[in-house]
Symmetry: C2
Subunit: 128 residues, 2 copies
DNA sequence: CCTTGACTTAGAGTCAACTTCAGGTGTTAC
DNA sequence: GTAACACCTGAAGTTGACTCTAAGTCAAGG
């Protein structure tokens, strides 16, 4: 599959795909004789994986390290697992913080809704 | 309360506190005769609010707009509510994406755990 | 009186993660 | 066969959100 197709199908710009390869976020993709990238199944799964991880905020640096370990074969399985466990913890922490923020937003929105109702009749000064 | 105290108590650098004020993320803080910032209760609640919202990824720009509306009084309550509702939607979307990523991480970690067990005896090539 | 240290400002610098550019080669449509 | 377009590379530019610097004011301690 050509880079342009991968780009449109997965919503990642060709620039970003090349960038990812350059920095080692995905291993080198096979090329045609004339040097044009040809993504295979595995390449695409890797792109998807990176996209997913990045969208959740895992740092590029960590993913590069992880991918490098993958390239080194089964002897790195424990190290890889450690990275994923660490990132999972960080992810859970971020989600918990976001949940707190969500609670506060919900509360504020509720207060505003009451304020609007009141204001319609009474114009009472309220919240922030 | 002095800026240094606010900084240590809330884990935000004095630079960042001044920066927030400069860009309008918190309204101007009262000053002593000699021009030194003196944070009152309300200022601190605002700092906490901004910290919380920022930690969940709400953009500075949006928060500036929100704070500006707060300064304009009760006539902006509906507009403020709209902003919060919009940001709530965005936050929920981010959290859902993160949950997906978490599921994948959990799955991968599980597979790795099995792989480690197997490898101890059989050295079977496995996952990625 | 002088130094230490907290504070002030405007503005420059940094960082992660892209994104765009300049300059060039290869491929396809008519 | 030539125009238009997709691709290549390395490097410079951009963005959001800080973070630091330079140059200066001011109050307190020795």
């Amino acid at each position: 599959m050509k880079i342009a197709e991968v780009s449109t199908q997965h919503g990642i710009s060709t620039d970003t795909l090349r960038y990812y390869e350059r920095i080692g976020l995905i291993p080198p993709v096979n090329r045609s004789e004339s040097g044009i990238r040809d993504y295979n199944e595995l390449d695409i799964r890797r792109v998807e994986f990176v996209k997913c991880m990045r969208s959740a905020g895992l740092p590029v640096e960590v993913l590069i390290e992880y991918i490098a370990l993958v390239q080194q074969g089964d002897k790195t399985i424990e190290a890889r697992k450690d990275i994923l466990v660490e990132q999972r913890e960080a992810l859970i922490a971020r989600m918990e913080q976001m949940q707190k923020t969500l609670d506060i937003l919900n509360h504020k929105i509720e207060v505003y809704e009451k304020a609007v109702l009141k204001n319609e009749k009474e114009m009472i000064p309220v919240v922030e």
